[in-house]
Symmetry: C2
Subunit: 235 residues, 2 copies
DNA sequence: TCTGATCTGTGTGTTGTCGCACAGACAGTC
DNA sequence: GACTGTCTGTGCGACAACACACAGATCAGA
């Protein structure tokens, strides 16, 4: 497995906090293992915990029907799942599902509510992350409207790879179709092209990125735009 | 012109503030007239003012290219244009354009930065609005992916009508095509159907909603979902 | 080694939207 | 009343994605 990012294996949002604030959160925080497919919360659920992914990924999904689901946002070590809590609302309108197994720091929602107004750096960071996340959702929205399945799949694979810090991961076409909001057959076709062009290799749910540069080239500009936004807010 | 909502002609977010906080904002605030087509800020611009629409509407657009633009969020009396400022970022990734002429309260960004941490009700409200807005953007994103031009146009007309507090307004097919992210011809076809079914009437940029109930029925569920979210946060 | 479950490949026909091209309708103005 | 610009209507070919239907490949476990 090739490490492609300088992953320090910690959540970058938390890592940016001054020590004093981090310590204050300590007692309410716990490192947990998130496993693929785990649902952290459903739309309307009371959110008990928020999650700061380390090498895991959480996807936020909007579903129109059982058949039609779409990822509206992806959360990795750059962010947090459960922004609603920070915004003073105890439930979300999206489903949060673990898209990549790995560890995350889990924080009780009550602690978020209690501390986020007292810890100024945390507060400021969360605000900036909210902005970054909103920008991501906005960009994806336009991307989903205008770009083809091919380019969107390439973008999505790049984003996933970045957050996992790996070029190899398990994901079926079925799963990706739920993320991109297209049929499995569409993913098959798009993935087939990427494979023909030697950018990726895949078999029975195991995907390997063979050529990141080529893959990035076939992704739309949205990838770079979202990445810039995600990285920038951490300074 | 038929008034269909109990429009009190003031921004509902501001109206929810306690008097003391509203007074604090007073000196920095000014009622301005927004005119159709006016651009409040472009992506990347430093945002000097935020706007609390009264009977005006501000659309937030994401553009992939000159040809391809999409409305990612709509702001009326329930909200504010310029959320980024509240989130501690002085520019936005979207373009803010006036979609419906009318009045708005304009507040200097510096005042937002200075006061939003001091005025607790304002802060709390803005947080809750941020959540509501994020929910709107997420829902629209899925809607744009899964629903037909017909239903999306119906939804969009309903949302516009709600915010203007009127059943009659000026909007060309060309303009709507930029909002919905489809070609003008597509809007023509969809609008033609709505007109055939006697839900709306239109001519040279003047649209009249003839039957709100029917129009709401042909809009997708997204309309009701977004409306509920927008109304709920104000309690 | 057989069996069932899962994952992937692909074929056919349909539909929605696009891209382009142009004609008609209407309003303002000189 | 003629001219110009704007807005609207429509026709046609192209194409991406859809819906459905199966067949083939691979793996895990009995």
């Amino acid at each position: 497995m090739i490490q492609t990012t300088d992953l320090t294996n910690e959540n970058r949002l938390l890592a940016t906090l001054p020590k004093s604030e981090y310590k204050r959160l300590g007692p309410s925080m716990k490192r947990v293992q998130l496993t693929f497919g785990e649902v952290l919360y459903e739309p309307g659920d009371i959110i008990k915990f928020v999650y700061f992914p380390e090498d895991s990924i959480v996807s936020l999904l909007s579903s129109m029907s059982a058949r039609s689901t779409l990822e509206v946002g992806m959360v990795g070590s750059e962010g947090m799942a459960g922004l609603s809590v920070f915004m003073g609302v105890n439930s979300s309108s999206t489903r949060a599902i673990v898209q990549g197994s790995g560890s995350a720091m889990r924080l009780a929602s009550s602690a978020v509510r209690y501390e986020s107004n007292r810890l100024s750096s945390l507060h400021r960071l969360m605000h900036r992350y909210s902005h970054s996340f909103l920008a991501q959702v906005s960009q994806s929205s336009a991307c989903n409207r205008f770009h083809s399945v091919n380019t969107r799949l390439a973008r999505w694979l790049m984003m996933t790879s970045d957050r996992l810090g790996s070029d190899e991961f398990r994901l079926t076409q079925e799963f990706m179709s739920n993320m991109l909001g297209v049929r499995r057959e569409g993913v098959n076709k798009a993935a087939g092209m990427l494979q023909t062009d030697k950018m990726i290799r895949y078999s029975r749910g195991m995907i390997t990125i063979l050529d990141r540069d080529l893959l990035e080239d076939s992704a739309c500009q949205c990838y770079a735009i979202i990445k810039a936004e995600s990285d920038a807010y951490l300074n």
